[in-house]
Amino acid sequence: MAHQSLVYLEVRGGAVKRSSLEALGEASRQKAALGGEVVGILLGSSSTTLAHGLAGADRCICVPDPRLDRFSLEAAATATAEAARSSGATTIWFSATVQGRDLAGAVAARLGAAYAADCVEIRAEGGAVIAKRPIFGGRALVTVKAKGNPLVVSLRPNVFAPLVASPAAVGTSNLAPTFASGDFAAVVTHLASAAGGAKDVAEAEVVVSGGRGLGGPEGFKPLEELAQVLGGAVGASRAVVDLGWRPHADQVGQTGKVVSPKLYIACGISGAIQHLAGMRTSQVIVAINKDAEAPIFKVATYGIVGDVGVIVPALTAALKTAIAARR
């Protein structure tokens, strides 16, 4: 069977999400070995407009049904599964965002496909996709392959490079799926954006996280300043979320968010195994802790022993100077 890729392109705020472009990028890179086409799928009334200029896809299936403007998992899964069938997709790609992971499971169920969630490495072998994914909160990795069925994969955000290609016209075709009666029974009715448009830790390229070592909620003020200088987001350990110093949305770790930023700065965080589960795939890890024996130093690229209350403001000031000097 010839290989064929379908890539789900998640739309947020009128644009295709960067993490979806990462999935598109990886599907396109693997095309060299797998052959076939890379087909994008876009849902909602803006789909046709968004499809133009989607460099990297060979063509795009658009489902411009306005009912899809408000996300409903079942309706989106029906549409995506139908696009997968009609395009003969053998690998269906998602980004492992909240929406992407939901949809990946729902589409796999509808197609009777195998599902590899939250993959961190993809390779092609003998015309098939082989995926590597973390299990046990990142304490182990498994390499998996579909037993001949189609394969659905979701890719961990920030791990794969997005496709950079010059925008070119992409051919589109419209699909009008046959929705089931219950497909719109549950819909997203509202999205409250994070306060001040703050970046999400799962998507930021820089994450500055704080733990109990910050001493209290006010201890996060200097972290916010540091994050701002670096254009990053502020994360937190579970200990401080449980204490009510920070919202759960900011929690990094096994029962929080999994992050893979370019730079992760852990401030006053001991480095418990469940915290490492959420950040050990970061490119560069900086640890600031007053205890030289803290386990966080074992995974840190760079470590400074000292009081966060002193080091963080000094670091912010030094970075401001360094960044200003480059301009």
Binding site: R12, L73, E74, T97, V98, R101, D102, G105, A109, A114, Y115, A117, D118, R133, P134, I135, F136, R139, A140, L141, V142, V144, K145, A146, K147, A180, G182, A185, A186, V187, V188, T189, L191, A192, A194, G197, A198, A202, H248, A249, L263, I273, Q283, V284, I285, V286, A292, F297, T301, Y302, G303, I304, V305, G306, I311, A314, L315, A318, L319, A322
Partner: protein, 248 residues
């Protein structure tokens, strides 16, 4: 409306993992097994709905290893019935959801609670597969749930915000941490639970659709560098980030 809670069995999140002798499955010797942490929130929410609506609550577990103590505990917390579907051989979300659906179908209309993901496989797809089996909508990762009549409104954290999802029951929900405060069973409830029905049935499930080729431990991160103590080390850090790691 009937209520169902699905409970998975997982090794404690602090347990050490090493590859087994086949190089494909984990060696979990010495690990402590617990109810999947997210399923505690699922069960609590199910008990709350059961109390509010005066219906019947079934707790289900699929798996080969004795789970009666955990299911008794679910009965003590408020489940009316519990069942373990004892299986042999590996399980995937497709197989598990088929077995769960067989039990739930006769109870429809039923609202089903699962955890957002089990902390061993970290897949988080059983809810979606079950939704497809039962033809029910799935609302995942909820951190609040309000039910009025046969309508619900749930919220969940997504990247950069909080989504509200509204719809009609019956529905499948998967629970995020913090959905509620799971209760502890009191002594009287523990005593009463001994009389509640708990059955174990042997079943066979279709095998997983994925082949595991290898299991490995994450590579150690390349040895890091201590830059020293106190503010004196800050300049070295900025230089390293700029010139060595090139992340600025």
């Amino acid at each position: 409306m009937n209520v169902v809670a699905c409970l998975a069995r997982v090794p404690d999140t602090a347990s050490r993992i090493k590859p087994g002798s086949d190089g494909k499955s984990p060696d979990l010797e010495g690990a402590q097994f617990v109810v999947n942490p997210y399923d505690e929130f699922a069960l609590e929410e199910a008990v709350k709905l059961r109390e509010a609506k005066g219906s019947s609550l079934l707790a289900i577990h699929v798996g080969p290893v004795d789970f009666q103590k955990e299911l008794r505990n679910a009965l003590a917390k408020g489940a009316d019935k519990a069942i373990q579907l004892s299986t042999t051989g590996p399980l995937g979300p497709a197989g598990i959801s088929k077995l769960l659906a067989e039990q739930i179908r006769p109870l429809l209309p039923a609202t089903v609670f699962l955890g957002k993901q089990s902390v061993d496989g970290d897949v988080g797809a059983t809810g979606a597969f079950l939704g497809n089996e039962l033809g029910l909508p799935v609302v995942s990762k909820i951190s609040t749930l309000k039910i009025e009549g046969d309508r619900f409104s749930a919220t969940r954290e997504v990247e950069g915000g909080v989504e509200t999802i509204e719809g009609a029951l019956p529905c499948i929900f998967t629970a995020e941490k913090g959905l509620n405060e799971p209760r502890r069973a009191g002594l009287n409830q523990i005593m009463a639970a001994k009389k509640k029905p708990l059955t174990v049935e042997t079943k066979s499930a279709p095998p997983p659709l994925l082949d595991v080729l290898a299991l490995e431990l994450p590579k150690d991160r390349p040895a890091g560098r201590m830059l020293g103590e106190g503010v004196g080390a800050v300049a070295a850090l900025v230089t390293a980030l700029q010139n060595e790691a090139k992340v600025l």
